[in-house]
Symmetry: C2
Subunit: 415 residues, 2 copies
């Protein structure tokens, strides 16, 4: 398509640069202050692992609910075994057995014992368990050479969890063993923080949907499948509007989805086709536009109704970096998770100097080579493969010119 | 239920203790040698994040597929700008525009320029981009005060990814950005390692299903929901047979499920109701029975047809510990993931001594208190809440008597 010069002029107005850039710190503060309060929902226990508890859980029951044997052996009256030694053995009559879930229903009288399995109820009258290893079995009798103290190998009611005790305190990301404990006290569902609903809106008339082969001057959308994976990793419920044509009405409609967070990929800057910042400013608030960082500086964010809206650059590395710095934080916080990146942080020696510019934060991809790191030289933010070749990244703060060769720096590892 | 003494005698034969315990090291070696080879399957891109690549991916296309502008500005012939300075400005005529996906179809002749957006195709004849910031726009002309070098701000075809290049090398756990790169080269599905199918079989006639309130001498199953969560955490496809009565035929039927790994909870020991080890020995192989560790020593494992079978103790802490030491390793390895525990490891100072016994491995739960750790004193392996109160655990090796107060020890943190 060729265009007329009048056309070009019309666009000039918008090609005006960013009014005022924000710092990364200001932007993070804006996010933290803009988050709505957390919502909770009832989640069945089988789906609750990894979810964040919104309400502390108090047990209504004792665990165990009864005195139980903690060893395989024989339930006895401890006093009956007093004085037993190899030279003065004591015999007891075995009058029955207690199995888990199948209690011995009689009473243990002096001189008697009941075979008992681990976890089975201690019969009335008995107050200790003689371990199977320490007795000799003779027909219907057992003979012991050792005495046993009262309560030995007997689990007391409420010993694991007492009725009325707080078992798990909110907020807490539920571990597999928490699910086990909740089950043991008869909890079938917990109140958990709702997973934030995050809608990805992709703009760019040059884009082909994920799964298509790039053809001619069209490129295949890399950002949407990446963003959907990132959002799910951070505990969000991700949905995708698809690729929306560069038409303000259609973009606006996509922004109005019934979700908590909208993430727009592409058209975030001040170029001629960058409708989204203007749309957001007109119909909601554009609170941040342009951040002093690299890549990802042409990023925007604001509010539209109750939604938080993030405008990410279309360049894939900028998109990833903008997600990791800002969107991911919002998704995790709104889901009750922490601010921290889901990347392991480790300190490494820098093999080559890493240059940055004072006044902006740098997201520098690095390679691990022989236990040290080296920066990846790239021609720009469009080279997404720099983030697949990289083992992680270094964040160079605003007030730094970078790091000298040989410095020890913190690396966030991608896996 | 009461029982007769003849009954008790019949059971004695089985209450015989473990024939020979294995060490933890021998048991891990058995697992590593017993794993079947990995299987792979085609996984659509949108579900591939976190999956393990089974086949390296080679790109069939160049990314970008064409020369593109890397900045918003004007596509020019670099030679036209030679000698431009503030005192010797050069004017070029703007003859059209190139947008992403909407190329300028004419040719840029000497003295001409085409407005271009980031990502748009470089028109024929042009070989550099003058950044918008550096030119002045006057009606249908632009005026530059600076020269630009050939190829400046021009992305070359294949610069990100060259056709024929290996983009991702198997095995690799796919990151969100990998999904983006795969999408950009038109890949719609990848060959990934199959997620192992893991079936949980719960035994114990005293057990009520998860979700029920414990009543009388019955306790609610804690192990199955915990195991299902653990298996899913480690990348397995978990299924549950439900609670199987203590009947050998019914247990055997549950063991024969069409899966890769069977995990039996309960009845793993040598007690009278412990059918499972005998069943496994009769119908398959019981390769390990009894491991020198605490808790979880009455653990068993073996083969049944092509299945690996793990017999875990019914005591919940033993069950968790046995899973973490052995089953989790098998699940992760069979899914193409690493041997490593999914727990962060950090070194802490021990506030109180931690006693262990030479000849066995100890799994000691610890609390983090003021940046140091202290062991949790528990009355036994049945107290699952010790693992929810704990912040992590310390593994005390076989040849150690434990650690003195003040020692620096490695802790595996539960979250």
């Amino acid at each position: 398509m060729t265009s007329h010069s009048s056309h070009a002029q019309k666009f000039d107005v918008r090609m005006r640069g960013f009014a005022s850039r924000s710092t990364v710190k200001q932007t993070l503060e804006w996010i933290d202050h803009s988050l709505p309060s957390l919502q909770s929902e009832s989640v069945p226990l089988e789906a609750a692992a990894g979810r964040v508890l919104a309400q502390s859980v108090v047990s209504e029951v004792n665990v165990p609910g009864f005195s139980r044997g903690m060893m395989d052996g024989f339930a006895v009256r401890a006093e009956d075994t007093l004085g037993a030694t190899p030279y003065s053995q004591i015999a007891l009559e075995v009058i029955g057995q207690s199995l888990p879930g199948e209690a011995f229903e009689g009473q243990v009288l002096p001189g008697q014992a009941v075979r008992i399995m681990t976890g089975a109820p201690i019969p009335t009258g008995a107050d200790a368990v003689l371990q199977a290893e320490y007795v000799e079995i003779r027909s219907s009798k057992i003979v012991t050479q050792t005495a046993v103290a009262p309560r030995k190998h007997v689990g007391q009611p409420g010993e694991d969890i007492a009725a009325g005790a707080t078992v798990l305190t909110a907020p807490r990301t539920l571990r597999p063993q928490d699910i086990g404990v909740l089950s043991s006290i008869g909890v079938a569902a917990v109140e958990a923080v709702q997973m934030p609903r995050v809608h990805v809106v992709t703009t760019g008339s040059e884009l082909l949907p994920a799964g298509s082969k790039p053809q001619g001057y069209n490129i295949t959308d890399a950002n949407s499948p990446m963003l959907l994976s990132l959002i799910r990793r951070d505990g969000g419920l991700a949905t995708h509007a698809g690729i929306i044509p560069d038409d303000p009405q259609q973009i606006l409609k996509a922004l109005m989805a019934d979700v908590d967070i909208v993430v727009v990929s592409g058209g975030s800057s001040v170029g001629q086709e960058d409708h989204v910042p203007m749309l957001l400013a007109e119909h909601g608030e554009l609170n941040i536009h342009g951040v002093a960082m690299r890549p990802s500086s042409p990023i925007g964010m604001g509010r539209l109704g109750k939604r938080l809206v993030f405008l990410l650059p279309g360049n894939p590395v900028s998109c990833l970096c903008g997600y990791d710095f800002f969107v991911g934080r919002a998704v995790r916080l709104l889901g009750g998770l922490g601010r921290d990146w889901p990347y392991r942080k480790r300190s490494y020696r820098l093999q080559r100097k890493l240059i940055s510019m004072v006044g902006r934060v740098d997201y520098a991809r690095v390679l691990l080579v022989d236990g040290e790191i080296e920066p990846i030289a790239t021609s720009g933010a469009s080279v997404l493969s720099s983030t697949t070749r990289a083992d992680g990244f270094v964040v160079v703060p605003e007030d730094s010119e970078g790091y000298a060769e040989g410095s020890q720096v913190d690396v966030f590892l991608y896996d």
